[in-house]
Symmetry: C2
Subunit: 492 residues, 2 copies
């Protein structure tokens, strides 16, 4: 067996364990009985301990070093795979197994507590869990090391190559333009309010329609499924097993639909990675900012476009006959309405990034110690009021709305806006290909998917995120396309 084959074998074993943990994690969010959370936390802690052992083993280190001697550096895919695996290996080995088990146990309990706290809108129920996770995040950051501030180390977890400073620079520049666009968009909607015809939009019909749309995007239901959870997500439980979730509102079918479009974007990326490379960077997503570019591209650039609804509005009306009471233009005005929403996942495109800027700022302050956990609700509400001009009525509509912190995911939020910028830049580049723009305007999304497969999915994590964007669009990553897109859709 060559060293490269040995690496693949060891990586596969680690992937068997981590993907088993993903099955238990998915079940925890979808179907787990109330009183089973304690045992599930212990199961996940055991699995994550073993997964960490396997992905940080001396055997893997030796095999990796031998493989890096063996690989032909001109074989970009293999070389990129092994160098990225080495980088990940080194990062992982900085955390002792006991800390990884503690992390998993803490976040299992925290997720459960968060769910209760949100239900009761009682931040105090969640605060001790957030404090414990924050302390652990600081501990991890010190072990990983960072160029400038501890928060950098957390960002690196999700977005290879990004730092607090590099993100600040982009976000600070984006902020003023975003505020202007958002204010204009909100005013336009306020002047011409538009509502969806009254529900109910039966959940069974929503499920059927959502599935039809996801299928048309190219999501393969032989390799995945859609379930129901409090917070939509996409998770991969193995090659050929990509699971999306959404949540249903009987009064508004577009809520679950846009959730499915978004998660299907993630799912298409996962289904586009090479199965044979599962468990290694070559078969893995490269960063959350790239992942999110795929979900935003399908949700916003395809799913909210006029072209999309010209094709799909009549089909939607077959599922929901009350739509015949409205017309395409009014429906589009509804889809393109802008409002200052308290809830990030219900926010429209025009105001969405303001939610992220707020979270980025709070996380940075939390990590620097400039903000105490107990003060999060107040700080949240103050920052929200400043950005949006309204104050959340309770913490369930404020700092308790997202699951991310409960998952120990500090540093995760900024990647949503990075994803928005990437999505706009990629979609603009793709639409310059004739077959793609023709396809998109006639509900044939296969040329677009084929392009994304080649440019973004197939390389896995063998290239840097910025390289992928540069190769696909022929330009440096920037906010230009995103701002142009928002201005066009929301202010013209």
């Amino acid at each position: 067996m060559s060293a490269i084959e040995k690496v693949a074998e060891l990586a596969t074993e680690a992937a068997l364990v981590s993907s088993s943990a993903s099955v238990l994690g998915w079940d925890q969010e979808t179907y787990l009985p109330e009183e089973a959370h304690g045992w599930r936390a212990r199961q996940l802690a055991w699995l994550s301990g073993r997964s960490h052992e396997l992905s940080t083993s001396p055997a893997l280190r030796d095999a990796l070093e031998a493989a890096l001697d063996e690989v032909d550096p001109s074989d970009q895919r293999s070389f990129g795979n092994l160098t990225e695996m080495k980088r990940r290996f080194e990062r992982s080995t900085k955390l002792p197994a006991a800390l990884v088990e503690k992390d998993s146990k803490l976040s299992s309990h925290a997720k459960h507590a968060w769910s209760e706290a949100r239900k009761k809108s009682d931040f105090k129920l969640f605060a001790p869990h957030l404090q414990a996770l924050l302390d652990l995040s600081r501990e991890k950051a010190e072990l990983w090391g960072y160029p400038d501030e501890a928060y950098d180390a957390l960002i690196e977890t999700y977005e290879r190559g990004a730092t607090t400073a590099s993100i600040s620079q982009v976000f600070d520049a984006l902020g003023p333009d975003l505020r202007l666009i958002a204010a204009a968009a909100v005013e336009r909607t306020a002047l011409n309010p538009v509502a969806l015809p009254d529900g109910p939009y039966p959940i069974e019909q929503q499920m059927a329609f959502n599935e039809e749309v996801a299928r048309s995007f190219g999501f393969d239901f032989n390799k995945g499924r859609i379930d129901t959870t409090a917070h939509p997500f996409c998770t991969t439980l193995g090659p050929g097993d990509v699971r999306l979730t959404t949540r249903y509102d009987e009064g508004d079918f577009t809520s679950s639909l846009l959730g499915v479009m978004h998660e299907a974007g993630h799912g298409l990326y996962e289904q586009g990675l090479r199965s044979a490379d599962f468990g290694t960077p070559a078969g893995d997503s490269v960063s959350l900012g790239i992942h999110e570019s795929q979900s935003r591209l399908w949700e916003n650039h395809v799913g909210r476009s006029r072209g999309f609804w010209e094709e799909w509005f009549p089909i939607a009306a077959d599922h929901f006959p009350q739509l015949r009471k409205t017309d395409l233009d009014r429906f589009l005005a509804f889809i393109h309405r802008a409002e200052f929403s308290f809830i990030r996942v219900e926010a429209d495109e025009a105001t969405y990034d303001l939610h992220i800027l707020l979270r980025f700022e709070l996380e940075r302050q939390l990590m620097r110690g400039d903000l105490k956990v107990a003060d999060v609700p107040t700080a949240w509400n103050e920052a929200f009021t400043e950005s949006f001009g309204v104050t959340p009525p309770d913490d369930a509509h404020g700092c308790l709305q997202d699951i991310h912190w409960a998952m120990g995911g500090l540093g995760y939020f900024p990647t949503y806006t990075i994803g928005n910028l990437n999505a706009a830049q990629l979609f603009k580049a793709a639409m310059q290909v004739d077959s793609i723009s023709k396809g998109v305007s006639s509900a044939d999304y296969s040329p677009l998917l084929k392009w994304l497969r080649k440019e973004i999915h197939d390389p896995g994590a063998t290239l840097e995120p910025s390289e992928l964007i540069r190769n696909a669009s022929g330009r440096e990553p920037s906010a230009d396309a995103h701002l142009q897109h928002l201005r066009q859709r929301y202010t013209e």
Copy 2:
């Protein structure tokens, strides 16, 4: 830490792994996408390998031996727990880890192939898998050892204390009486045919009604749930996590309901075991013949009784208004109809055991080498025709109907009839307690459940199956109560 505590700690770790595998197994039956079976089989093989390692480790052997020195033999529960753990340990250590992984992998693939084969009614698709599992069963039997014939070793897996000979003796004695009762019952139904009012019985209403019934039996939905599968089952994924499944027929709500009653009986047993002892025999079921006694007791002795339907028929009619077209007597005649069914899980009480006698005979012949795998369909159809007077139209209605062989479960089937005998004997004893018989006739099942908890559930596997029956009923285990019950319900 005492040796007894050390044993508990090691047993808990093994239980964390085996119960993680149970989560993946449950998901495989309920929600797994089509193309994910290969990877799932590999995940399960890895987990079952680790689980086997942990439950056969030298550390556990040492701790067990020290604990057996430490334990006070007059402490029956602790002593029974440790001696049974030792027995299981010795049995497990006879199988090498590689064989256990192979077993898991084979049966994962076989279950998938069986599902396809049944769909297409094509035994050839399943035959090579059955052959492989049969070969492996023989290999396991040789490693375990047996008193008389290899099949004994398989039976021992499911029914501590039983052998091929002891079961033959009971079954041979039962056979003639069963055939007479079944024939009389089938004739009675044929002379007075009765049908349920036409469907549809909407699946959503079936789910709601089934849940109401399971709840009234005492099934705790904070510690469990009900899902949908091709073949109903009950599985425990951890303390506080007991999952039942059933399947739905829009034309007959009693099909899913009786499935739920049956699986809820299993589930009540699992929920009645002590959580603190999870992973050790004291917190584990003792045998399948005892397990099945619980499902049969709730399904047949409670759920099919006149007393039950006097209370529940009006409630059922609220869910399914078409029931108002019939009355209690005609409905009971429907519930008590007897027909020669091709499908075991759809068989009525009067004919059910004949299905088991047939399978027991074929398994014995397969294990002895008197029957070749390729000849199973022919042998099945001949034996079926002899017992039931009709020939299965295809293998989906014959030898492909059950999942058990695909799970490598040779030796499992006889425990169904053992369970029927136990159920009748236990129910008869329980009904001699005044509060229980009063409760049962007024839809208050808590006195019955309390009695079962004390007599059967709480001891876990610290006593032998026959001891449990003897202690609870004050009699030696026998077929008397079962035959009496069948005669009364089906021939009088």
